[in-house]
């Protein structure tokens, strides 16, 4: 029997607002433990939450970028559970009226577009961080636990997909695309390694062609795209193994172990956990007016998928469009400026994704500090296209420009890289070479074509490589035929 995996992904995105979700403490990564805390995010008696408007604008932007509906009214709920790094022992989250709902994200997998449904995007607060001492950091054998509440109350957006993903690879592409959208929006630093984006996956399998869903297993602790893909792939195989050996998959939460490459059981769910959700009485409902939503929508930047499509339409090769789209904003701006300055899109994209990126990486220079603008790149491309420089000389021109030696034509001039296209100069060089090789003319007239190559090489030598080889070739043929 063949099995179809059914996968849904929950992505937690930490926002990089100036202040936390419900208090004035700064949002930042790292730092001395328990230095960015106040009565509210420490859950001290009597402290109250106040909603951060900027965080609501960020989740609205994420929702709109995912084609979600923004609710006109949304409420916070308390999710009650006891945990040492959850200071109030409830998390302010959302239950039945999230800020955003019913959107989708289109992803490209193997040249095919797949539309993945987004069930909801809701707003909540992050917890503190527990560090278990000794026993390899495992909670049950730990000698003690340290608590850091710097992260407590950092705004967190949870994006919940519908169970529309069908493979581990697809899940990875979905997660990557979502990350690039969040990064594009500038609402999160979107760094997996700092935990500012975190994933949980719900995985089940069913016989191919079956409509009913199988029993789902939640897997946690994947901290890279690669581990997300590996964990899902492992889990699919594990479930198939269970079912094919006449077992049945149980509803549980499993923990991905990066080192051993397996998932293992964390806890078995008996029904669903009872979080005793109820409306947060310390906060009033949020009202998202159409004007407010429209204002956010207006300020949305171009999304990666739209951008790739635009590049392709401008003539950039498909693979290059993807690479260019993923480059940082300064390099993409360089592309847009070059095209505006008249450069052919395909050449501009090739130069940027090839030589420019390579040079910057080698020189360890940020794109925003590079001495190359769109006009300069357009000029360089034009020089290649009109034969002013050879394509190999153009790379040297680029090096000069990026090294701050001046505009492309100036660099080509001072570095003596301009091709000689002046017919007079070339004619005398050709005449000199032909005079020195009289037998060559005879061989050519006898039908020896390859002698032309030899003669062109001689002319290049005489002109120290600066002659335009096509022009030289043409002149030699004219002379010898004449």
């Amino acid at each position: 029997m063949s099995w179809e995996p059914v996968i849904g992904i929950e992505v937690h995105v930490e926002l990089m607002t100036d202040s936390k979700m419900f208090c004035g403490c700064a949002v930042a990564f790292g730092g001395e433990p328990n230095t960015r805390v106040c009565p509210t995010c420490l859950g001290l008696p009597g402290a109250l939450p106040v909603t951060n408007r900027a965080a609501i604008e960020s989740i609205m932007a994420i929702g709109l970028a995912l084609d979600c509906q923004v609710s006109d009214r949304s409420v916070f709920h308390r999710k009650n559970y006891f945990y040492a790094d959850l200071p109030k022992n409830y998390q302010i989250s959302q239950f039945d009226v999230p800020v955003c709902h019913d959107g989708h994200l289109d992803i490209e997998v193997d040249g095919e577009t797949r539309r993945i449904g987004i069930e909801r995007a809701h707003m909540e607060e992050d917890t503190g961080k527990s560090t278990h001492l000794g026993a390899g950091g495992r909670i049950h054998a730990a000698e003690g636990t340290l608590l850091d509440f710097n992260r407590s109350g950092v705004p967190l957006v949870e994006v919940v997909s519908r169970p529309d993903l069908r493979s581990a690879a697809e899940s990875r592409v979905y997660a990557q695309e979502l990350r690039s959208i969040v990064a594009e929006l500038g609402v999160s630093d979107a760094r997996l390694e700092e935990g500012s984006i975190r994933f949980d996956a719900n995985v089940s399998i069913r016989p191919e062609g079956e409509d009913e869903y199988g029993t789902k297993v939640e897997i946690k602790n994947m901290n890279s795209f690669r581990s997300l893909e590996r964990a899902i792939a492992f889990e699919i195989e594990r479930q198939i193994g269970v079912v094919e050996s006449n077992g049945s998959v149980i509803q549980e939460t499993r923990h991905w172990d990066e080192e051993t490459g397996v998932t293992h059981s964390m806890r078995v769910k008996e029904g669903s956990s009872d979080y005793r959700y109820f409306t947060e009485p310390d906060l009033v409902p949020m009202v998202m007016t159409p004007e407010w939503v429209a204002g956010i929508e207006e300020r949305l930047p171009e999304m990666p998928a739209d951008r790739r499509a635009r590049y392709a339409a401008q003539g950039v090769a498909e693979g290059t469009a993807g690479v260019l789209s993923a480059l940082d904003a300064d390099l993409r701006r360089l592309y847009d400026e070059a095209v505006l300055s008249g450069a052919p899109a395909r050449s501009a994209a090739n130069w940027i994704t090839g030589e420019v990126v390579a040079w910057l990486r080698k020189a360890e220079i940020e794109a925003r500090d590079a001495a190359l603008d769109g006009l300069g790149l357009a000029e360089l491309i034009e020089m290649v296209d009109d034969g002013s420089v050879s394509s190999s000389a153009a790379k040297e021109v680029l090096d000069g420009v990026l090294s701050g030696e001046g505009r492309p034509r100036e660099v080509a001039d001072t570095r003596n890289l301009l091709q000689v296209s002046d017919t007079g100069t070339l004619e005398s060089a050709v005449a000199e070479v032909l005079a020195a090789n009289p037998h060559a003319i005879e061989e050519f007239r006898a039908g020896e074509e390859k002698v032309v190559g030899f003669l062109v090489g001689q002319v290049m030598k005489v002109t120290e490589g600066r002659a335009d080889p096509r022009l030289v070739n043409q002149l030699i043929r004219e002379k010898m035929s004449g």
Partner: protein
């Protein structure tokens, strides 16, 4: 006493006849003579208070007048956070807890020049109607030391009645200001929900809690309210619009007003003396030109049941933070879960435990709709009942408490009897409306009887206008036995 009211004390301070320091020393002196019997205070901050009084006098000497509470000795229920001064909510679980910040009300009192004498006793986490649920001992009624002062703000009520503060503040979730005010013969008022910041008030039931004043006179009560209320950006439920002027109608009389007598708040369970005092006051108001209308609000009969689902539900969540991890009591255990469980088992008293369990149960999956959900629907119905009533009348009146102060211990083993103490008070909390208790007389045993005036949201001006007339007509004198009063 040097002054019988805040307004009188204010005049005497400004004329130089007395000083903030002298008023404070008198309050401390009264406390030293009465506390052994009353136990109104959990903490008396003599040093902090003396410094504040000295500053208040120095300010006045420099021509800085901070308003009506300048130099006035006030007491705070011990569920309001005071920076640097122990705040326990009368719970073992917060023994020794010293807040690093002031509640907004405390900030406003300090900047208004008030002198904070100390922190008063309460039922643990404000859960109770007799102040017997305190982890630090019962408070007794200044009028009869064998009786309770009411609760949960019993310490604040007893302190104002005894004179160990001229003004006090409490919190009212389901009658916790008005009922003890009634039992102690002082004026107690719960403002419109959202008008006084809850920031720094240790939450019992967030959607019902409201801080309000205890005073010796209606005028003082209005002055105190004006000093603490107003929009606070730190409390999201804070009201942002126009606020009424509580003092504007104090001298206007009641001629032409329409008063509704709540028919549900009489009969069975109401003491004859209480009913008689209420009827008598209504008759006197009628003579002053008030139109009296009997009004039925049928949902009042089920308000108490709904309240005992909503308030414990919110409390079960609000009190979850007391886990022994970050502050307060910690009882160690082999695991974090065990540490939390032991801390809470040991740190919470029986009534708090009862309500946390009740609330946890009513929020649980499968029970939510029948309990918490249903209670919220009742709450909406109560609000509709009120809205209909206020189409006919300007204010509603009733006894504040069905009985006068009861004997200590009389209801401790019967939670339901205790819960019924607040039957007249809870509807105003469920609707978020203001209400005040004004003492109108004594029963044959010399125990005070309170008269409740309720008004629609932001109806404080009219509410105080009626309360001032009730006070004038009653001519009530605060003379508790603890001070050798003639009662």
């Amino acid at each position: 006493m040097i002054a019988a009211s805040v307004s009188e004390a204010g005049r005497l301070i400004r004329s130089g006849e007395t000083s903030a320091a002298a008023l404070l020393e008198e309050a401390i002196d009264i406390a030293s003579r009465t506390e052994a019997q009353l136990h109104a205070f959990l903490t008396i901050d003599s040093d902090g208070a003396r410094e504040a009084a000295r500053q208040a006098d120095a300010d006045l000497a420099d021509g800085i007048d901070r308003g009506p509470l300048h130099g006035i000795p006030v007491a705070l229920k011990d569920n309001m956070c005071t920076r640097g001064v122990e705040t326990t909510a009368a719970s073992q679980i917060l023994a020794g807890y010293i807040p690093p910040y002031d509640a907004t009300v405390v900030t406003r009192l300090r900047s208004g020049g008030a002198v904070i004498v100390g922190k008063t006793n309460l039922d643990e986490f404000a859960m109770g109607s007799s102040t017997e649920n305190s982890a630090y001992g019962t408070t007794y009624n200044p009028w009869d030391l064998s009786r309770v002062p009411g609760g949960s703000s019993g310490g604040s009520a007893a302190s104002v009645a005894a004179g160990s503060s001229l003004l006090a503040f409490g919190s009212d979730t389901g009658g916790s200001i008005r009922q003890p005010a009634s039992l102690c013969g002082v004026v107690g008022m719960k403002p419109t929900y959202g008008t006084v910041s809850r920031y720094g008030l240790i939450a019992f039931a967030s959607s019902l809690d409201q801080i309000g004043p205890f005073a010796r006179t209606v005028e003082d009560s209005a002055l105190a309210l004006s000093s603490i209320w107003g929009y606070d950006p730190l409390d999201s439920t804070s009201y942002r619009g126009e606020y009424p002027n509580p003092s504007a109608g104090l001298d206007r009389g009641v001629d032409g007003l329409r008063i509704g007598v709540v028919t549900e708040l009489s009969g069975e369970g109401f003491e004859p003396a209480v009913e008689a005092a209420t009827t008598d006051m209504v008759a006197r108001l009628e003579k002053e030109g008030v139109e009296v209308i009997d009004v039925s609000l049928p949902t009042f009969d089920i308000a108490l049941s709904a309240y005992y689902l909503i308030a414990p539900a919110e409390a079960s969540s609000n009190l979850a933070r007391f886990d022994g991890i970050r502050y307060g009591l910690r009882v160690d255990g082999p695991t974090t879960e065990e540490l939390m469980a032991r801390t809470r088992a040991e740190g919470f008293g029986p009534e708090v435990t009862r309500r946390v369990l009740l609330g946890t149960y009513s929020l649980s999956a499968g029970y939510y709709d029948a309990f918490y959900g249903q209670a919220q629907r009742v709450r909406a119905a109560i609000q509709e009942d009120f809205a209909r009533a206020y189409e006919q009348v300007d204010v509603l009146v009733s006894p504040t408490s069905p009985t006068v102060a009861f004997e200590a211990g009389a209801r401790t083993s019967d939670p339901l009897a205790m819960y019924l103490s607040d039957i007249c008070n809870i509807p105003a909390n469920m609707a978020g409306h203001p209400a005040i208790s004004v003492p109108v007389g004594l029963d044959e045993a010399g125990l005070p009887i309170g008269f409740q005036v309720m008004a629609p949201a932001l109806g404080e001006e009219t509410m105080y206008r009626v309360a001032a007339e009730v006070e004038r007509l009653a001519g009530f004198e605060i003379s508790p036995r603890v001070l050798g009063g003639a009662a």
